[in-house]
Amino acid sequence: MQQRSSWFRFSTPSLVLIPVAVGINYVGKLFASTLKLPLWLDSIGTVLAGMLAGPVVGALSGAINNVIYGLTADPISFVYGLTSIFIGLVAGIMAFKGWIDGWGKALVVGLAVGFTATVVSTPLNVWFWGGQTGNFWGDALFAAVLAQTNSVWLASFLDEVVVDVPDKLLTVLAAYALFRSLPKNIKQLYTGSGELESLD
């Protein structure tokens, strides 16, 4: 395990990582739908950016992802930019703290990212949609819980949990699998000590 040198460096490699992260998010979603998987898998790039270049670049990738997605496909994604920011942030912080050297830890990171996303998205859902997520099965659960408990917050939270946690868990596991197989010469760009040694 290599220790991250700093929370973030606004180096050129970190900056050019952001468009790539947004692209990976998009392509992940594309392949998931091509393969007809029952998941979105549209945050792999954001998580990977956090793992590679730290929480700030991760968060920035998340924010920019939703801005771009909002400009190009679906304006509602602006609303959920906050969730993406937190996904990148949590993945980055946990990787930074050493939670990145084994599948067990990756699982924990996945759950952490999933629940963070839920906690951030729930108020947005309540404010924007009155509590729903726009996902059919999740909203069915929302309706059922709302009917039973009369609690918009609980219903919305559970709606978000079933929609987000499995997806984010698998997103993080996929990102970790990819991170593991990255070559030294790529990881090095983001982990280098920054020190210049003299050979004179």
């Binding site: 280098g192 210049l196 040694e197 050979l199």
Partner: protein, 279 residues
């Protein structure tokens, strides 16, 4: 006048064990066209990047010795500052496209905008670079819609617009087809004729022999020889360094056909024809 002065240059990448460059010293005169040859991993790309400051500023690592290009000491100058004196073009044409510009014309201006060149001068320089690289006809096209050869010429134009005195080309044609290769070599030849100092890494030895006035042979980060193409390509032990001489040299060696009054074998088609035509 010396355009490049390298003194005891040593370099090791971060987290690497071996030196990528091991005590290199050489000089290049203004207007020369120098070819660098050697097997993969010999240190050719690292040397190229050491001439423009990416080594050590981009990678960090361990560095020793001194490199001076067009009067600037690399160690003490930023990569941006150096890019106005020495430009570099890489292998893959498509990853050198910035992606933020929608036309070839704007793409060439990218560096000039960053460096704060006044708009009027910017336009003059972009026009000049496009003209020199023969890209005027594509100036309104999207950079990603060009062929490999055109894209590589665009990369050269983007660098030339910064008006460097030296240009370094790191295997600029290795990923191109013959037509693209020919386009790019014609462009490089033109830069050389304009008086620019050119450093070129290339695996196509026939091209090196035809265009370069000196050839540098590297192996395991060390400089083996830096001399005329005829001298380097006539080495008997050349294949031991993972390099095959041009086909013309190979057949003339087999036939023991040296150039008149020279200890060396021919390296180009014309030279080979000259020595073989009587046979």
């Amino acid at each position: 006048m010396k355009k490049i002065i390298v003194e005891h240059l040593k370099y090791r990448y971060p987290q690497a064990e071996n030196l990528a460059l091991d005590d290199l010293s050489f000089e290049v005169d203004e207007g020369e066209m120098v070819g660098i040859i050697g097997r993969n991993g010999a240190g050719k790309s690292t040397l190229c990047q050491a001439l423009v400051g990416l080594v050590p500023h981009f990678y960090r690592g361990a560095y020793g010795g001194k490199v001076t290009v067009a009067g600037l000491e690399v160690m003490r100058s930023s990569v941006s500052r150096l890019s106005t004196k020495v430009g570099i073009v890489f292998q893959n044409p498509f990853t050198q496209v910035t992606g933020s510009k929608w036309t070839v014309y704007e793409e060439v201006a990218f560096g000039l905008e960053n460096m704060g060149v006044p708009r009027k001068e910017m336009i003059e320089r972009v026009d000049y670079a496009l003209h020199l690289l023969g890209l005027e006809d594509c100036k309104d096209r999207n950079p990603f819609d060009l062929s490999g050869g055109q894209t590589q010429r665009l990369a050269i134009a983007g660098v030339i617009a910064l008006k460097p005195e030296i240009i370094v080309l790191d295997e600029p044609t290795s990923q191109l087809d013959p037509r693209g290769t020919e386009e790019v070599f014609r462009a490089i030849h033109r830069l050389s004729e304009e008086g620019m100092t050119v450093v070129l890494v290339e695996h196509k030895m026939e091209k090196i022999a035809r265009y370069c006035n000196r050839v540098m042979l590297l192996d395991e980060g060390k400089l083996i020889q830096f001399a005329s193409p005829a001298s380097v390509f006539s080495r008997e032990d050349l294949t031991r360094y993972g390099v095959a001489p041009p086909v013309y040299t190979r057949v003339c060696r087999e036939l023991d056909a040296k150039r008149e009054g020279s200890p060396h074998f021919p390296v180009t088609l014309e030279e080979a024809r000259e020595v073989l035509k009587g046979r």
